[in-house]
């Protein structure tokens, strides 16, 4: 059994009378420590996958297991616990708390964790040692994203979910962030899932899941993932 398994997952959004099928018969599996890219166009359903996988939403039907837990059966509270301990989120727009310093933003996550990593170390790891007392607004986009990553990592999650982590960043910075994520995956054996519409990133994933119109179009496993540095877009 894989670390993460999607079995016949279906998600339907109901808005009034109108039913929108966001996901339909989605099946895939991800192994522990894998660096996975989930790619697709806007509206293809990748965000829905992210939401469901991230415990922010529940599937309409189908089965999802993460580390042996059937999270598709989870109650809202279980999902929160799941998010709390198992998931690290990296958002496209960093979602830092503006009112908190770098350290504090990280601490915000570690506060609620069972076995958080050392905040200082994590910050150092993401290369923001010098700026740890700064407020987000005093940081550049990349730096902010690093903070976000640090925040996600500090929780010591089972899974790092990144939603368009480079979407708001310039090319170079994006690369650096991807590097950081890839390194983290490699070094920490962290399962990292990156959701992006940028197909150019696909080569760097251990596994690439392409989604389109709510369905998994294909799943590619790269035996030799390309390092970030060599990817261009």
């Amino acid at each position: 059994m894989s670390f993460i398994e999607f079995n016949n997952v279906r998600k339907v959004y109901k808005t009034g009378e109108i039913e929108t099928v966001a996901l339909d018969r989605v099946d895939f599996s991800i192994e522990q420590g894998e660096f996975v890219i989930i790619a697709g166009q806007s509206g293809a359903g990748k965000s829905t996958i992210l939401n469901i996988l991230g415990g922010m939403d529940a599937p309409t039907s189908g089965e999802i297991t993460v580390d042996g837990e059937r999270i598709s059966e989870y109650s809202a509270k279980q999902l929160t616990t799941y998010r709390r301990y198992d998931i690290g989120f990296v958002f496209q727009f960093y979602n830092l708390v503006q009112n908190l310093t770098v350290t504090e933003n990280v601490e915000l996550a570690t506060e609620i964790c069972r076995e958080p990593l050392n905040v200082e170390e994590v910050i150092e790891k993401v290369g923001l040692k010098e700026r740890r007392q700064n407020f987000p607004s005093q940081l550049s986009g990349g730096e902010q994203q690093r903070v976000a990553i640090a925040r996600a990592l500090a929780k010591n999650p089972k899974l790092l979910l990144c939603d368009e982590p480079t979407g708001a960043l310039d090319y170079q910075t994006g690369k650096q962030i991807l590097k950081l994520l890839q390194d983290t995956c490699r070094k920490e054996k962290m399962t990292v899932i990156i959701i992006t519409h940028n197909l150019a990133l696909c080569p760097m994933g251990d596994k690439v899941i392409r989604v389109k119109s709510g369905r998994v179009r294909d799943i590619t496993v790269n035996a030799e993932p390309v390092p970030v540095e060599s990817i261009e877009w």
């Binding site: 929160t80 908190l100 609620i112 987000p136």
Partner: protein
């Protein structure tokens, strides 16, 4: 435009929460504002309608001396009156049929005609149950404010007067049956008043037909003014209507009182005149009688004495004079007499001697002649007589012998006859002879015997018998013949003898004779003749001579001696006479004289004098007595007046009006505060809305819409929210608040169902007001945004940068604060505007709560402080004001002797006036106060606890340094300790005194003075008339028992236990407590709306952040805490800030709702702060529940969205 409208609807739909936020705050604000403002209006409208419908008198006249029928007629004649009713009132003691205890009932008469059409049927009843009385022994009772009616239909009440006068003097009935329970517009509140009988507290108000009352005087006259009912009774217009009538009646009152005073004066004068006249007549008569009697007695005595004295004097003088005169006369007379006598004597002696000599000579001559003649005559006579005698003797002897012989012859015959007869008879033979034989025998014998017998007899008897018979016969013959014979013979014999012898013999005899005679007789004769001659001379001349000589002699003598002698002798004589006779005579004469004088003068004088005397004093006495009587009857006559009381003086009206006014004042503070908060909330909300729609605004702008066109979108939004909220708020507020408030006041005031005032304008104004505020808020919120250029607007507004706060710079503290706390603190300081908004709302909420509780506390404390702390005594006994000092003292001792009273203080409580200026003027009106005077010293502490009203509230003593004045009184005058004020005592004397301290005091205007200060200020002792009493804990029954016992005393007029006062005041102001409830509810709503609204804003601003932390795995409570912790923190801070706010509002409110004489303290119990804060936090937590729901609904997907 259609698009825009559509856009607006959509906007409303999309941001329904926000719309609702504005809508609801406006709704609450308007509902509260309009509702609370409408409440007093509705209260007034209800009362106005009630008063009009039930014909509440516009003016009530009370006369201190009652109204006569004439007064009533005079009132009726005044212009502008509609209805007039003279009512009798009487306080009696009633006992319920079944019950033991007695209560005081105030009886009032009602007209006989109780029909709707009777304009004189005033103060009409609203029947709660039963019917109106029809007979004198039926009554209606006012409904009790208590939950259960103490009297029910059919109850029988037994009445007694409660005074020493029997009830039957004033009331025709002694038993009443309750036939109805009513409401009455004259008495709508708790207070039933006090009475001078029973326990002093009126328990029932009863009405019964006029016919039950016996008094000819009306105590009250109720009047309605024509046209006044058409005015709202709470407006000036109403009073403008009433004022002229009131003034006219006041004038009338003066006239009538003057007339009445005169009438009474006249009556009194008449009665007194009658009484006094009688009295005076009796008295004067008695006095005059006594005086006259005494006068007469005195006069008579005097007169008698004088008369007697004069008499004696006269007598004495006369006597003396007489004596003197007589003496003189005697003396003179004697002298004269002696002289005369001597003269006469010598004259006489001479004369006599001459005479005698002559006499002797002639006498001798004649004697001689006589002698001679006699000798001759005697010789002659003797010769004659001898011749005659011899002849007679011879003749007589012869005659006698003849006669004797005859007599012897006769005798012898007879003797012989007798002898013969006897012998015959003696012979027995004679018996046989007849008579004739016998006689013949006899005669024969006699003849025979006789011649012998004779011869015998002649021999024997002739001589003796002649001898025997001779002298006699001689004598007889002598007497028969002697003188005649002599005389016949004598003259011739004499003449012959004379002629022969006489001359010769005389000459021979005379010289010798003379000599002899002279020698023999002269001296002797003189001596013999002198006395006689003297006597004769004296007899002849003495008196005459004396008489002739005497007057002259007397005159001379008198002239010489009389006066002198009299004067010499008189005094002694008088003294003696007086000593001897005066008193005696007076005593003798006096009674008689007195009696006479009395008889003559007494009655007459008395009858004359009595009217005179009466006249002299009667008028004065009458005047004096009248004056005296008037003084009693007219006591306080200068105080006699009609009290013409318009509704401003009617307790029910005033209390109710004050209640409504208090509501008004409260309404004018709170709702404004609400409006302010509403405006703030709207402003925040609109600001947020504009902020959220930056891009949209930018778009519109880019599309070419004008600033105002765009702004109108928000203004319309705000207008829609505020108008709809306002209108609904009006509708709800108008229904809820007036009803709640009205029904709460209904606890304190008996009113019929609520009548709505015309509140349309109020509604319009309040809706318009708040709408404009909201619109203004919306406008000002978007105007700054709108001034930006579109391109800027298209970009997201730079998020507020995080900043270190001051606290972080103090690592010492900062390090100790937990992370989440840091976040919270940081957040709080980050969203300052919202922070202050929330703070304001919460502080307002707490403030309202503090105020609400504070009002309750202050009211409660007012009673507790006034009657529990300031007044340490439990009861006060009021003594009758016209008691004498002794009666006062006695009453005090009687009171002090009650075992229930553990301590008593005898003080003076009189009404007076204070002012801070010498004369009342505008802005410095006189304030009626109670002047309490007592001895300074330790005992005061047991009865009062005077504390400074300001500063540290330390205790102050009552000293003679100055007065203590109640804080409210001081406040109204604007004076403080050390100032000087003017106090006017009840006698109208105004003096300046220093203020020693302003004391904490809540009920009534009071000035406390030490006796010493009073005396030095007013120059007299304060009249003590009140006894303050301290009791142990005693039951109400015991209180009543003591009250009744004391009230039986003539000298005691009232016994008041504070427990009763406290009850009354409590119930009076209990309605104010509803304000507390209203405030708590309102503040809850406020807190809710503000917190909810601002939390909403907060959430909407931090949607992303919240979604993010949700994604980060914060449990719901953690999310809530994360968001709401700030709110809680602000709430706590706000609550703390709210405390001073509340204190301030409370102060203001207490200041504004202060009644004239009641000073609400500004006391807030510490627990109230706790309650307020706790309640605020609870409200906040309740809001958090709603916020939680809202937070829960926030989709985590929001976190994934791009920054707008």
């Amino acid at each position: 435009m259609k698009k825009k409208k559509l856009d607006l609807f959509r906007e409303v739909k999309n941001s329904f929460g926000r719309f609702m936020a504005i809508f609801s705050i406006v709704l609450i604000g308007v509902a509260f504002f309009a509702g609370v403002l409408a409440s007093p209006r509705d209260m007034r409208a209800t009362a106005d309608r009630y008063f009009d419908d039930n014909v509440l008198c516009d003016i009530r006249l009370i006369s201190t001396i009652g109204f006569t029928a004439g007064d009533l007629d005079a009132i009726c004649e005044e212009n502008g009156l509609k209805g007039v009713f003279g009512a009798h009132t009487l306080d009696v003691i009633v006992r319920k049929e079944s019950a033991e205890n007695e209560s005081v009932a105030a009886l009032t008469s009602i007209p006989e005609d109780l029909s709707e059409g009777n304009v004189n049927y005033l103060n009409r009843f609203r029947i709660y149950d039963g019917r109106l009385p029809e007979r004198p022994d039926e009554c209606v009772v006012r409904t009790s404010m208590a939950r259960s009616q103490p009297l029910s239909l059919g109850d029988k009440l037994y009445l007694s007067s409660g005074t020493s006068d029997p009830l039957s003097e004033s009331l025709a009935v002694s038993e009443l049956t309750v036939v109805g329970i009513v409401y009455v517009p004259t008495s709508i509140s708790f207070g039933l008043g006090s009475s001078s009988i029973g326990n002093g507290n009126v328990s029932y108000l009863l009405w019964l037909p006029e016919s039950a009352f016996l008094s000819e005087y009306y105590t009250n006259v109720f009047v309605t003014v024509d046209g006044a009912s058409s005015e709202d009774t709470f407006t000036d217009a109403y009073f403008d209507r009433v004022a002229p009538v009131r003034d006219a009646l006041e004038e009338l009152g003066k006239e009538r009182i003057a007339a009445r005073t005169e009438e009474i004066r006249a009556e009194v004068a008449e009665t007194v005149a009658e009484e006094v006249t009688e009295e005076v007549t009796d008295k004067v008569t008695e006095e005059v009688e006594k005086a006259v009697k005494e006068g007469i007695e005195e006069t008579v005595l005097e007169e008698v004495e004088k008369a007697v004295k004069e008499g004696i004097e006269d007598t004495v003088r006369t006597e003396v004079e007489k004596a003197v005169r007589e003496g003189i006369e005697t003396m003179v007379l004697d002298g004269v007499r002696d002289a005369v006598r001597e003269g006469i004597e010598s004259a006489t002696l001479g004369a006599v001697r001459t005479e005698v000599q002559k006499g002797i000579e002639s006498a001798v001559l004649s004697a001689v002649e006589t002698e001679v003649k006699k000798g001759i005559e005697s010789t002659v006579l003797a010769a004659v007589q001898t011749e005659v005698k011899t002849r007679i003797e011879t003749e007589t002897h012869a005659a006698v012998t003849e006669n004797v012989k005859a007599a012897i012859a006769a005798n012898v015959r007879d003797e012989v006859t007798a002898q013969v007869t006897a012998a015959v008879e003696a012979d027995p033979m004679s018996a046989y002879l007849t008579e004739e034989q016998k006689t013949a025998l006899i005669a024969a014998q006699v003849e025979a015997a006789y011649p012998t017998a004779y011869e015998q007899a002649e021999a024997m008897y002739l001589e003796p018998q002649v001898e025997a018979a001779y002298p006699a016969a001689l004598q007889q013959a002598m007497s028969l013949y002697y003188n005649a014979n002599v005389e016949a013979a004598y003259p011739a014999a004499l003449e012959q003898a004379m002629a022969e012898n006489f001359e010769k013999t005389v000459h021979e005899q005379y010289p010798a004779a003379l000599e002899k005679t002279m020698a023999e007789n002269f001296e002797k004769t003189v001596s013999e003749q002198y006395p006689a001659a003297l006597e004769k001379a004296m007899a002849e001349n003495f008196e005459k001579t004396v008489r002739e000589q005497y007057p002259a002699a007397l005159e001379t003598a008198m002239a010489e001696n009389f006066e002198k002698t009299v004067n010499e002798e008189y005094p002694a004589a008088l003294e003696k006479a007086m000593a001897d006779n005066f008193q005696k005579t007076v005593d003798e004469k006096y009674p008689g004289a007195l009696e006479t004088a009395m008889e003559e003068n007494y009655r007459k004088t008395v009858d004359e004098k009595v009217p005179e005397e009466i006249e002299k004093i009667l008028q004065d006495t009458i005047d004096e007595a009248t004056e005296e009587q008037l003084e009693t009857v007219m006591e306080g006559a200068d105080q006699w007046k009609w009290y013409v009381l318009d509704r401003n003086s009617q307790e029910s009206y005033v209390q109710y009006r004050d209640a409504a006014n208090q509501m008004s004042r409260i309404a004018s503070i709170f709702p404004v505060f609400f409006l302010f908060v509403a405006a703030l909330v709207c402003f925040t909300t609109m600001t947020r809305m504009v902020a959220e729609q930056r891009q949209l605004i930018g778009t519109y702008k880019a599309l070419g819409y004008g600033t105002y066109a765009i702004a109108s979108r928000y203004i319309l939004y705000a207008l829609a929210a505020s108008l709809s909220g306002g209108i609904l708020g009006c509708i709800i507020g108008m229904q809820v608040f007036p009803r709640v408030i009205f029904s709460s006041w209904s606890i304190a005031y008996q009113m019929p169902s609520m009548v709505r005032a015309d509140n349309l304008l109020l509604c319009i104004l309040s809706v318009a007001g708040i709408s404009s505020v909201v619109v203004l808020a919306a406008f000002s919120a978007c105007i700054s945004t709108l001034s930006e250029v579109p391109s800027e607007l298209m970009r997201p507004k730079a998020p507020k940068i995080g900043r270190k706060i001051l606290l972080e710079r103090i690592p010492f503290i900062w390090k100790r604060i937990s992370f989440t706390q840091k976040v919270t603190i940081r957040n709080i300081f980050r969203y300052k505007k919202r922070f202050f908004m929330t703070l304001a709302g919460v502080a307002g909420c707490t403030g309202l709560l503090v105020t609400g509780f504070g009002i309750s506390d202050s009211i409660g404390q007012l009673i507790k402080a006034q009657y529990g702390e300031i007044f340490c005594y439990d009861a006060s006994v009021t003594l009758k004001n016209d008691n004498t000092a002794e009666e006062m003292q006695e009453a005090y001792e009687r009171t002090a002797a009650q075992p229930e009273f553990t301590n008593t203080l005898f003080v003076s409580n009189t009404s007076g006036i204070v002012n801070d200026v010498p004369e009342a003027e505008s802005g410095h009106e006189d304030i009626d106060v109670t002047i309490a005077v007592m001895d300074e010293g330790a005992s005061v502490e047991k009865f009062f606890n005077f504390k400074n009203a300001v500063g540290k509230r330390e205790s102050v003593d009552l000293t003679s340094d100055g007065v203590l004045i109640a804080q409210r009184t001081a406040e109204m005058m604007g004076v403080k300790a050390g100032d000087r004020i003017f106090i006017e005592n009840r006698d109208g004397v105004r003096q300046e005194v220093p203020v020693h301290a302003v004391i904490e005091f809540y009920v009534g205007h009071y000035v406390y003075m030490s006796s010493e200060l009073y005396e030095t200020s007013f120059g007299e002792e304060a009249p003590r008339n009140t006894v303050l009493c301290v009791t142990d804990e005693i039951t109400e029954e015991e209180q009543n028992a003591v009250s009744e016992l004391l009230m039986d005393e003539e000298t005691i007029t009232g016994v008041g236990f504070f427990s009763v006062s406290v009850k009354t005041i409590n119930s009076m102001i209990s309605a104010l407590r509803i304000i507390t409830v209203v405030l708590i509810i309102s503040s809850g709503l406020l807190a809710f709306v503000v917190l909810y609204n601002l939390s909403n804003v907060n959430i909407s601003e931090r949607l992303r952040e919240i979604a993010t932390i949700k994604v980060l795995g914060f449990y719901d409570p953690e999310v809530n805490a994360y968001v709401y912790r700030e709110t809680i923190a602000i709430t706590v801070v706000g609550a703390l800030v709210g405390i001073p706010v509340g204190i301030a509002i409370h102060h203001t409110i207490m200041g504004t709702i202060a009644m004239d004489a009641v000073s609400f303290g500004k006391y807030i119990a510490p627990i109230s702060y706790v309650y307020s804060v706790l309640l605020t936090v609870i409200f906040s937590l309740i809001v958090s529940v709603f916020i939680n729901v809202k937070l829960k609904k926030i989709p985590m997907v929001e976190s994934l969205k791009s920054v707008e």
